[in-house]
């Protein structure tokens, strides 16, 4: 049955728009691409002759490198544009920039943007495929896909697992994409943090809410620890970093007390060591943070490959 699923979308904007079958198709495709990165010659000709523009209008290191490596390992030609050296600062809109890039016959645009919905507006304006590399607080589909890939690889399945996402859910695109992806594949998702960091009516996305870390850890098979942006404290969403660490920081102590022995710990990075997670835990046995990064390249290769299939299918 799985083989019958075909990629039919021009863009990858979010996991909300994808079916369980489409998500699984990306994960399965990523599995074969993961092997490419382990060879000594890390390149396949899948996207030879294609041009991919990486339009990163918000600072990013690992996601950008991951996307560029993915494109290069598929033999695509890549160009990179970042916020600071693009014409965005000269008053040109994102759409204008993208349309100009497209006019130079680019096949795919990878967009990272600080505002939610930017890739959606772009996707309507250009014929090129648009791959969302994170938009505002909205979605970060490839991050969630690499999280799903990592969980599936480690746990052998997604369905039936209890996954807890901890931290600033309200301002997290990683959380939203994870919730969509995990729920579609049958996991039970809990979000955990103080009420100021939990967005309203999130329970309608099918998640449980817990304001208490111990409770949220108890039955969890997987936890995904989100980065706490220090500016949130300045906005009054929690009183002090110190208190946040006391109540929601992941320490070996609290894991010993409440967590399952085979708990898997994910973090989308970059890690604030000693804040949302201690050094000991981040580098510990249960942590798969670096494997997530490795899998990110494979998942992004898969996404780019499938999107390029849509284009060739059309032509």
């Amino acid at each position: 049955m799985k083989k019958d699923v075909k990629w039919t979308k021009k863009d990858l904007l979010g996991l909300e728009d994808l079916s369980a079958e489409e998500i699984t198709l990306i994960l399965d495709t990523a599995k074969s691409f993961k092997e490419v990165s382990e060879r000594s010659v890390k390149k396949v000709p899948a996207l030879r002759g294609k041009t991919i523009a990486h339009l990163f209008l918000e600072p990013s290191t690992r996601t950008r490198i991951s996307f560029e490596l993915a494109a290069k390992r598929l033999s695509a030609d890549t160009i990179g544009v970042s916020g600071s050296n693009s014409s965005i600062l000269k008053g040109e809109t994102t759409k204008d920039t993208a349309k100009n890039i497209e006019a130079m016959k680019v096949d795919m645009i990878v967009l990272r943007h600080s505002l939610s919905g930017a890739p959606h507006i772009l996707s309507k304006a250009v014929n090129a495929s648009v791959l969302n590399a994170g938009d505002g607080w909205h979605e970060h589909p490839t991050q969630a896909l690499l999280d799903l890939f990592t969980i599936r690889e480690k746990k052998g399945k997604i369905a039936g697992l209890n996954v807890t996402i901890i931290g600033d859910i309200a301002h997290s695109r990683v959380a939203r994409s994870n919730i969509w992806g995990l729920s579609k594949l049958g996991a039970h998702v809990t979000v955990c943090g103080p009420k100021t960091l939990i967005p309203v009516e999130i329970e309608k996305m099918g998640v449980n809410i817990s304001y208490d870390l111990a409770t949220a850890l108890k039955d969890a098979d997987v936890i995904n620890v989100l980065r706490i942006q220090l500016e949130r404290q300045k906005k009054g969403l929690f009183p002090t970093i110190r208190e946040y660490i006391q109540k929601y920081g992941i320490t070996q102590d609290i894991l010993n007390k409440y967590a399952k022995k085979d708990l898997l710990i994910l973090h989308p990075g970059p890690v604030n060591r000693g804040i949302e997670i201690t050094q000991e835990v981040a580098d510990g046995q249960s942590s798969v943070i670096l494997e997530q990064v490795t899998n990110g390249v494979a998942v992004r290769m898969a996404a780019m490959f499938l999107l390029s299939q849509y284009k060739t299918g059309k032509a």
């Binding site: 909300e16 809109t93 994102t94 759409k95 943007h113 505002l115 939610s116 919905g117 930017a118 959606h120 507006i121 938009d135 505002g136 607080w137 909205h138 979605e139 695109r173 939203r176 967005p199 309203v200 009516e201 999130i202 309608k204 996305m205």
Partner: protein, 429 residues
Amino acid sequence: MNILIKNGHIIDPANKRDGVADLLITNGKIAKIGNGIKEKTDIIIDAKGKLVLPGLIDLHVHLREPGREDEETILSGSRAAAKGGFTSIACMPNTTPACDSQATAKLILEQAKKNNLVNIYPIGAITKKREGKELSEIAELKDSGCVALSDDGDAVMDAALMRKALEYASSFGLPIIDHCEDKSLTEGASMNEGFMSTTLGLKGMPNEAESIIIERDIALAALAGARLHVAHVSTKEGVEIIRAAKKKGISVTGEVTPHHISLTDACCKTYDTNTKVNPPLRTQEDIEELKNGLKDGTIDIIATDHAPHLDSEKDMEFDSAPFGMIGLETALAAVALSLVETKLLKWSDIAVKMALNPAKIIGIDRGTLGEGKQADITIIDPLKSWTYLEKDIVSKSKNSPFLNWQFRSAVTHTIVGGRVLLSDGVLQC
């Protein structure tokens, strides 16, 4: 020029008229209403099967002149109003400069006079530059033709200043129209707060940002013994608070827009910035209560909050785009679709909410079809289907969430002071 409107269904709640008759206009005034009027006139309008209402009055329009004539002018806004069946419009003071002085009010009225189309009534700013710090010269604004006061776009956040504004304005008989929004609860927000804002990753405005200020303003209006008009009520809480205040006999009136009773925040799903408006599109639950409020009289008027913005401003990320949508040309049809065709209100109720009550709130002698009154008349075909296309928009800006909607009622004639500005759906100006 004399005009005879034949066989129309005349709806004039002020004079309890609701039936087929002829209406004669001479010298810009309504001369006679009756059956079988046989006067010789320059123009005869066959209104068989159509509704003849007092000219519609919109108390909430942004004309953008002076300052943003690229978005709209008094002329283009007047033409859009005539197209939509409005014979009088009140324009909000958030222009550049703000209408906080005699000079700006007079400029607007002079432009309006020069155009000589629909009646224009300026609304003056409550505070200088709409900054919420010092009262404008309110008495002089009244003397120069302003019919109400508002800092629309912003609430007067300082409660003591709002109290003084209510007290001072009421000394000169001017109502205060407040845009009720507690800005501390809406900072950085671009849509309604709820499930949609959560999934879209946009910051939302809770209903309470509106209802808290409505509650405060009503308390202050009661304290000041002043008249308060609450602009664009969008929340069920807002309706409930106004209903309770009216029961207590407090002098408050309420307004809703056609878009707040037609569209929910689900329309923001595609990040279409034409759905970005302040107050934001809310939920079905809110719509139901707004409709209840219209039905039971809690909400007195329907006004458009016509807010023109250029494509180049709206064609942005959702957070970056300005708030607002145009509404003059779709108001009547949208209202018919959600209120009349659903049998919630009758056409006579629409005449009350869109002509009679607005006239009362700003104290102008319009909104009725009494003999001897100014001949401001709107004729409606209640069975005419049409599609709202961008190319047909008269307003300078095209930012409407109703683009390509199909409507089933249409304005066919707009007559202002006996001058036909719209005839069979075609602008004559």
